[in-house]
Amino acid sequence: MPPSENDAPLLCVERLKVHFPLYKGVIFKRRVGAAQAVDGVSFTLRAGETLGLVGESGCGKSTTGLAVLRMTEVNDGRVVFEGRDITRLDRAGMQPIRRRMQMVYQDPYGSLNPRMPVADIIGEPLAVHGLAPGKAERRERARELLQMVGLRADMIDRYPHEFSGGQRQRIGIARAIAVHPGLLICDEPVSALDVSIQAQVVNLFEDLQERFGMAYIFIAHDLAVVRHVSDRIAVMYLGRIVEVAASADLYRQPLHPYTQALLAAIPIPDPAAEAARPRQIVAGEVPSVLRPPSGCRFHTRCPKAMPVCARIEPVLAGEGGTHAVACHLHNAVEGEAA
């Protein structure tokens, strides 16, 4: 939902790089290289806006989310949140920032402590950030939060195993919004849920955003779900953003051949629409992030690849900042005949 009083973005990520070092040997361990999980990713996010991050495994979408939260080492680039560069903050410096940025995880089974009753799971962040000092106060707040996410307040003394997957995901959301964050990073928040439950949780995300004005980074591989919740979508491939567009434009007018391939691969739940759709299935699989192709990383699978694509890395560019693409077909390289 577009913007607020000022134009300063809530979050500004600039040329973010996250490289995981690779070692060989057990005793004489030596560094043999690095996996470029995220390699030069830039985007901005306004308050109350939802940015979807989509891509196939290994594209760096989850690592990008973790890097914004500083839950993984950032090798290069900057993360500016609420006007402050948080890239080099130490643990103590990050503490107040963490209250403003929360995370919702994919696995509603692994992300809740099985030994804690719901009251403590939701109350813990309140205690950590000193938002509700007394135990009674935290309990009261946890009851409110449970109702906010569509559970009953009297469920407060139950343990995670007493809930279904969809209910656990609601508890995870209650824990995340307990501290009034300005940004919620949701990493595959509905993909572990049954189809009939996904819509409930998607609607809950939309309701909470309307009510509290949080911004979301919504990371998922299911483009239909991402498109539904997001204002803008960034498509990632092997550590880089290849295209950013408003949700509606991305389906109507995908520019990058990878985006086109991704959309074509996703079946639409309608046999008539499916029969009428042109089918171009892209060949091959995503190459290893350890040995990414030169130039444009998609050129090895791209049906429209040109000689320049193997040599020169295309930059993300576009008109008006609303629709940007990193592809030589759309952004001519200076001094190069395509």
């Binding site: 209910q167 498109r227 499916e274």
Partner: protein, 329 residues
């Protein structure tokens, strides 16, 4: 095939599979009846606990024993009730006349044996082909599922293959003995979407070429729309609606099917419309509600729904549904 006078390739009647759990016996599959014609693709869709995978496993009598067992029904394949066969006869059916492809190819492959050995094995077991010839056939099969450099890949081990390549090998192995029917249980759920499209296209193409029937078990309504001729929708162990793909998507009649369709976002639709979720949660099989298992979540639930279990009734040429409510339109 639809409308032909010959009897279907597979006829399942009243199949009921029971599991022993710490909360007593549950019917994971309850009175399931379905037909599959030669050369046709039938999709079985449902959420977790709907019984779709157990149905698939029980067709080949692969239900984990002793906790699970088939307690009633007939599985008539090519005129023969598979449930009456002894173990030796059943082994001759598995892999040979009916093949199965599982979700996670890595756990279906032996990590300590080369791919060549594993792909060639069915020829030597079922046909008694000499080993050198079996390896030659294995190479031909890998070519057919378009594995590049197939000769060299025969000597490689499963971990040296990507997820998509492993699933291609599984398809190759399933096709090895030219089965009349292939059962694929969530064959692409573990794969990326561009690879999923490649694998399912390949599977569809090869089954069409060999005129094998395909039973596709999935939770993905998009995949069903793209690949299935007919569809069975399962809920809490029972088939609640079945029909041609067009019946199910354009004339869905059971409130569960209709609600499911309304709850999923579509790539080609306006994003401003709100999703219509199905309220509540799927029931536990150990504590099924009385009557129609969907009635506590059903917007149309009426008087008989909580008391009696609805049976499948014909509502169109090949369209059946199990529901008491007439006005569910």
């Amino acid at each position: 095939m639809a409308g032909s006078m010959t009897s279907p390739l597979l006829q399942v009647r009243g199949l009921t599979v029971q599991f022993r759990t710490d909360r007593g016996f549950v019917n994971a599959v309850d009175s399931v009846s379905l037909n599959v014609d030669a050369g046709e693709t039938l999709a079985v869709v449902g959420e977790s606990g709907s019984g779709k995978s157990v149905t698939a496993l029980s067709l080949l009598r692969l239900v984990p024993s002793p906790q699970g067992r088939i307690v009633a029904g007939e599985v008539i394949f090519d005129g023969q009730d598979l449930l009456t066969l002894d173990d030796r006869q059943m082994r001759a059916v598995r892999g040979n006349r009916i093949a199965m492809i599982f979700q996670e190819p890595m756990s279906s492959l032996n990590p300590t044996l080369t791919m060549g050995l594993q792909v060639a094995e069915p020829f030597s077991i079922h046909d008694g082909t000499p080993w050198a010839a079996a390896l030659g056939k294995a190479k031909t099969l890998l070519d057919r599922v378009r594995i590049p450099d197939s000769g060299a890949r025969l000597a490689a081990y499963p971990h040296q293959f990507s997820g998509g390549m492993r699933q291609r090998v599984m398809i190759a192995m399933a096709l090895a003995c030219r089965p009349r029917m292939i059962i694929a249980d969530e064959p692409t759920t573990a794969l990326d979407v561009t690879v999923q499209a490649q694998i399912l296209d390949l599977l569809k193409e090869l089954t069409q070429e060999t005129r094998s029937a395909l039973i596709l078990i999935t939770h993905d309504l998009g995949v069903v729309a793209r690949y299935a001729d007919r569809v069975c929708v399962m809920y809490a162990g029972r088939i609640v609606e079945t029909g041609t793909a067009r019946d199910i998507y354009e004339r869905a009649s059971h409130p569960y099917t209709r609600a499911l369709m309304a709850s999923i976002p579509r790539l080609d639709r306006d994003t401003a419309t709100r999703l219509e979720p199905i309220e509540g949660y799927p029931p536990s099989l150990a504590q099924l509600p009385p009557g129609c298992a969907f009635h506590p979540r059903c917007r149309f639930a009426a008087d008989p729904c909580g008391r009696r279990v609805p049976m499948l009734e014909k509502i169109g040429e090949r369209h059946h549904r199990a529901c008491f409510v007439d006005a569910a339109v």
